[in-house]
Amino acid sequence: MYHSLITMIIVVKYFASISDALGKTSETIDVQQVKTAGEIWSDVSKNIKYTGKVMAAVNHEYVDLNHPLKNNDELAFFPPVTGG
């Protein structure tokens, strides 16, 4: 089967306990195939122990983890919010 080669650049931001667990607040990643937010979470979190609930946002809108990313998207991962 023929697969066209794609390269996408995704800016990933991390907040609160997820940022603490990863030891960083953001990074830019290159992906070579269409991936969902959940697949990217699996990639970036493979070396950490984070068992809490993960929320995702793309371009400042909440999304499900099965949301597919597009080139130049800003993706964010964070725990449930606790403001107010």
Partner: protein, 152 residues
């Protein structure tokens, strides 16, 4: 509508008076103003809290606060609403969040302020990190996460 994310201690009552005088001075149909002020407690889950750090997601925070106010404005007959929220390090008794709504009658003001505050708690991307004698800990959410945040 007015939204402000504040990185230093603020006087909510002074902010209210200033906003009323500058932005609502000609709104003579206002008959009610409902205000909610959230302040920092020095105890949580049975432990003394020394300070608390409030983190947020810039841009997404403002965007969601706008959506939250717009949603309340559509549902209730509101003349105006404001949300001010602290970020950074806060101390016990410091103001954290101010929500105010103005309307012709009390019911709309009460309901809009409550809806804005409840939506803020479940949707606006803020996080609290408490400092106790044992170290730091992230605060767990106290309410169910809304299933329809995309419709807010």
């Amino acid at each position: 509508m007015y939204i402000e994310i504040i990185n230093e201690e603020f006087d909510p009552w002074q902010k209210l008076v200033e906003y009323k005088k500058s932005q609502l001075k000609d709104k003579n149909n206002i008959g009610a103003c409902s205000v909610f002020l959230g302040t920092m407690r020095d105890i949580n889950s049975g432990e003394d809290i020394k300070t608390m750090e409030l983190q947020h997601y810039p841009d997404m925070t403002e965007s969601y606060l706008e959506k939250i106010i717009e949603s309340a404005t559509k549902k209730y007959k509101i003349i105006d609403s404001i949300v001010l929220h602290r970020v950074g390090v806060v101390n016990p008794s410091d103001p954290i969040v101010l929500v105010a709504s103005w309307s012709e009658h009390r019911e709309e003001a009460f309901e809009a302020t409550r809806q804005i505050m409840e939506s803020l708690k479940s949707e606006a991307p803020f996080w609290k990190k408490e400092s106790t004698d044992k170290g730091f800990r992230w605060v767990e959410p106290e309410v169910k996460i809304s299933e329809d945040v995309n419709e807010a």
